[in-house]
Symmetry: C2
Subunit: 333 residues, 2 copies
Amino acid sequence: MKKLINQPENVVKEELEGIALAHPDLVKVHISPHYIVRADAPVKGKVALVSGGGSGHEPLHGGYVGMGMLDAACPGEVFTSPTPDQIYEATKAVSGGAGVLHIVKNYSGDVMNFEMAAELAQAEGIEVASVVTNDDVAVEDSLYTQGRRGVGVTVFVEKIAGAAAEAGLPLAKVAEIAKRVNENGRSMGMALTSCTVPVAGKPTFEIGDDEMEIGIGIHGEPGRTRMKIKPADEIVDMMAEAILGDLPFKSGDRVIAMVNGMGGTPLIELYIVYRRLAQICEGKGINIVRNLIGNYITSLEMAGTSITLLRADDELLKFWDAPVKTAALRWGV
Amino acid sequence: MKKLINQPENVVKEELEGIALAHPDLVKVHISPHYIVRADAPVKGKVALVSGGGSGHEPLHGGYVGMGMLDAACPGEVFTSPTPDQIYEATKAVSGGAGVLHIVKNYSGDVMNFEMAAELAQAEGIEVASVVTNDDVAVEDSLYTQGRRGVGVTVFVEKIAGAAAEAGLPLAKVAEIAKRVNENGRSMGMALTSCTVPVAGKPTFEIGDDEMEIGIGIHGEPGRTRMKIKPADEIVDMMAEAILGDLPFKSGDRVIAMVNGMGGTPLIELYIVYRRLAQICEGKGINIVRNLIGNYITSLEMAGTSITLLRADDELLKFWDAPVKTAALRWGV
């Protein structure tokens, strides 16, 4: 295992200490239990957004805490759900009296622990709504999931619902927008290599030197098929067909596109992926009106990519364009 | 070789096509010869900044073209200098009548080709000044370099001199600021793994499963020493000692710090590196006043990190904080 770490069991704690040292203007970091809140939390009268999940997907979620996006992120250990206690404490820390929205990727442990945390918070009079993301078209049910896995659309939910909350919308409306983003978003991933969880010390799965996994999950869960590597354009064709056919996306749709790196993929390759994706969408009359190209929801050092498309209406676009100031996503300020 | 590419010889061309499709609001891409200019080029009356070098270091340089930073980037093939023709054409395309600053990383081919391009442009009456970056403290002379290699400080030069040009300063002053940034910046890198140039098809160098290379160059050039992997804190201690002792940085200095990923390093590890760097600086009374943590000057999919520290005065900090709008660096707008 080749990693820039000290003790494997201290990776998340030391990452959080690094974040605290790097971004005191943006966030406050709580070490026991682990959570990150925006520096000015709680924001009185604003709906608060709390997300979280296993670590190893950075910048998700801690990199998205700040003005116009998340109020709190709860990082579990690498590829491990955060505990109800963590989520409950973070929920209390950011509650500003207007309710809290939990944004949960659809993994059984995450869903269960966010539900328990919501019940604890509600028992103390904090109103909590939840949205569960499940945008991965690759497989129905998976290693850690009932139904579809939640992946890239989570970034879009956090940005767009975050802007809606920042604009002062009430909890029910922010939750409705978050659900609308999830319902209109679809993703699929692929991997060329595995990744290694620090405390495991060995690759999560084995893959041949000439193989790739199409439909991989963000923890290395099996996808749709293992096959020989193909040229990038053919890979993107397969992924785009699965994504576009699922919603389905139609001619005239406006979409926000994300070409995401899994952590070990050079940016030069992501632009080659985006090139083909843009050609495909153009051929089908689908208009990519905004895009993100880079590492936004990763799987440690895995080489691979995922594509997320979000069909966006005027309201979603307006909130997408609204200012955001976080460690990993920033514009307009 | 596992890469998301089509034909290895088309990687740079297809990347550029992807950039053109992704960022028409920011840049215009010229395919033959390859160069990227900001969408509103030439900007009349403004000093224009042109940089470039081998591809494979993305987002450097193409990701830094836009308002407040570069006017043009000239990407060579992967790890190969751009040609004089490319640089000359880009220089002409962005010249707005106030002169052009060439920002050149210190590699013999880059230096020679930028010089030839400058002569061609000057023969047509375009005033050209040049700054050569040479911030890498690891080694004196190297595989492709006389003197020190130019690495991470180049990002700082492009941002800060870009803001100075945007503010309307004349060529001599913009060039002086660019040189001041280079003179006050120091870097060092390390690698856990090699990288593979697409047309080569095999790793640039061999490294053992338990080894690392301290002082690596951004093309995989040998560094100071090959040794067994150590804990992250010890690695950062070695790098920081080399960097801090070189200028030398002193108690009371204000610095901008970059912890850069080489392309295949998870962000979680870069924060562990930053944590130690911040502790070291604090212990020495050196005040990190701004930071960048992420992939800013990469070596394809290499796993590793580099640290750059820039001693910043009030003027450099003012231009660092000025608005910038590029694909890879954006704030204030």
